[in-house]
Symmetry: C2
Subunit: 147 residues, 2 copies
DNA sequence: ATGATCTTGACCAAGTTAGTCGTGAATTAG
DNA sequence: CTAATTCACGACTAACTTGGTCAAGATCAT
């Protein structure tokens, strides 16, 4: 359940696309510069996001990346699970298709509640929400510089 | 915020002390056997728990480990923070004594809420609660074997 | 003293994280 | 057609974390 640079950078990249991707593809280099992400690393994150259908890329001059769906329809939960893998705080909570019961650890029930609550909250946040917050943050930062 | 073997084993060791520690110290080897924990590893966990005042140890024959306080007064949150370090899901949420503002990441506010909720839930669970659950679990396991 | 028991620190293998780099493939401009 | 632009993908790496093991020593009851 730890969010590292993958989750942080990856989400920021998507927010960037939500904010600046209105008029066609946005280039990797541009995202990297704006979001202060090493470009060669961003590569991997975009590849993952493309594999999971969040972005579409086009090559060649004028190419770049864009969201496949409107930002209102992309939720933070799915993005983070794509980038970071399972967010389960302990192995015994990992989503398990095998049907076998995982070993029960003493604290499981508390963590189950925490995990469910967490996923619900993350599912309720869309890229559009995040982009709106980011716009607001940028506005107030610029304002404080100009005083 | 990931709970590894440290947190799992360590909590189980404390539950063991809560359950079997009524009549004097419990030995490392005994805990290790009952809870299926490598004894030499349990060592380190008990050392940490002693440093943070959860258990007291006595050496020599008849020695062992015991809780310093009644299990009702020990909460899961503090135990896990002792064993695993900060449970913050992202670095920017780490409790910060320096007063400097951490870099703001876009998702911070959601995670702040999740983190606070998590800590509240963990703080509401005592070792006594966990021990009660464990007793119940053992009872039902034995019952299912005897059928 | 002796043996039981905890204490401490050094050490280690395997896995994860956070990248870098190089080569190649697609697309477009000229 | 060719060159320039941009993404695609896999190999490689250094540093750190995890989950331990092990040996030497400190204490204490008897």
């Amino acid at each position: 359940m730890h969010i590292g640079t993958k989750g942080d950078y990856g989400v920021r990249a998507l927010i960037d696309l939500a904010m600046y991707g209105g008029e066609g593809p946005v280039q990797r280099a541009e995202i990297a510069r704006r979001q202060h992400i090493p470009e060669s690393y961003l590569d991997h994150l975009l590849a993952q996001l493309r594999r999971d259908g969040f972005v579409r890329s086009t090559r060649g001059p004028g190419g770049g990346h864009q969201l496949t769906r409107p930002p209102e329809e992309i939720c933070l939960l799915h993005v983070l699970e794509s980038l970071e893998g399972s967010l389960a705080p302990m192995p015994c909570l990992e989503d398990d298709d095998s049907g076998e019961p995982h070993s029960v650890c003493a604290q499981q029930w508390v963590w189950r509640e925490i995990y469910d609550d967490m996923r619900a909250r993350l599912a309720a946040v869309s890229l559009a929400d995040l982009a709106a917050r980011e716009r607001e943050r940028l506005r107030s930062t610029v304002a404080s510089y100009s005083i």
